[in-house]
Chain length 189, copies 2
Amino acid sequence: MPIKEAVRPGGRSARVQEAVHQAVRELQAVKSRDELTVPQVAEHAGVTPSTIYRRWGNLAELVADVSVERMRPDDDPVDTGTLAGDLQAWGEQYLEEMTSVPGQRALNDVMASAENGRRERCCHYSESLMATLRERALSRGEAAVPSLDRLVDGVVAPMTYRLLYDRESATAANLRRWIARALAVEDVD
Amino acid sequence: MPIKEAVRPGGRSARVQEAVHQAVRELQAVKSRDELTVPQVAEHAGVTPSTIYRRWGNLAELVADVSVERMRPDDDPVDTGTLAGDLQAWGEQYLEEMTSVPGQRALNDVMASAENGRRERCCHYSESLMATLRERALSRGEAAVPSLDRLVDGVVAPMTYRLLYDRESATAANLRRWIARALAVEDVD
DNA sequence: ACACAAACGCAAAATATTTGCTTTACGAGC
DNA sequence: GCTCGTAAAGCAAATATTTTGCGTTTGTGT
């Protein structure tokens, strides 16, 4: 058994996946979503349509697969010295990314995926990032660090909600309010 | 010009729409989402496939259209005497509806719709309901009624987020926490 | 090196989607 | 009430897509 990551067999399978993903990315840059077809992607990637159908099932799952990759954070969140600052810095770039035209399409594509767990995996990125920032704040000795749930409910949830339903209000200014509230509230039960 | 609602011409067009919607509902009760096809729906509704394609474009838009109808609140929210009670009562039945198997499918179908404004329209239901409950609380003379934004961010957003990404935590108990927090926070700017 | 299994290619068959043209049915003005 | 104009539906041929069976390739484990 090779030492390589189990998720990336590294053989032909991986090459095909990469070629198809790449083809989707390149075609998406030129064509709108409902001009894209499986046969097109297949030809551009140099594979047979049946390969794509057998592996991804349909176009929706394929583009969702590509978009989920795209949404995975690549670099570590910047350290601004305070939890509020870290949240604002991360949130602003996230909002910018997700309100851009390609970002919105990626979001839509992921939401349209029926495969169980795709959306969950995608939002998991944000949650584990919240956990990271929170740990960082704790190790700094910051006072009144909210629970993870409170960060998710208070910051990630409103952001996501606005991104999905009311793009206009997905702004840095609102983000500041969400963060302030999340950090200000006293415990309630 | 007839006095009937402009949105419901009442003629053949409306009959066809109703027949098609009905066909979708009936078939959805028996078949899983990806067994459903346009030609099937068309036959069951007694129309031609081309009618459906011309009017809805594709199956995703059609089922989203049906689901959005399904999510429109039919009856007025109950009046429990307090804003917290009203929110809890509405939220509990909403969570129950949306965590059910057909509710989840409806949610997915709406999220998968590409038509600009479908999702927005759907979430608009919740927001205007918040406004209603809020007005009610104000006219009761309740103290410390939160702004509409705060209700949306504090209650609707977490609910929606959990329903979409983490069904397990979309519970009445969590709802109670969200409401308590939304009503407890002091103004922050 | 060899054998096994998973994934791909190919091409035919089955379905689904689009489209041009005809027909029907509603609504408006007379 | 009648006729006309228009928007939507039916029909069927033309396209495009998805599915499937089978042979071949390619990676993996022994």
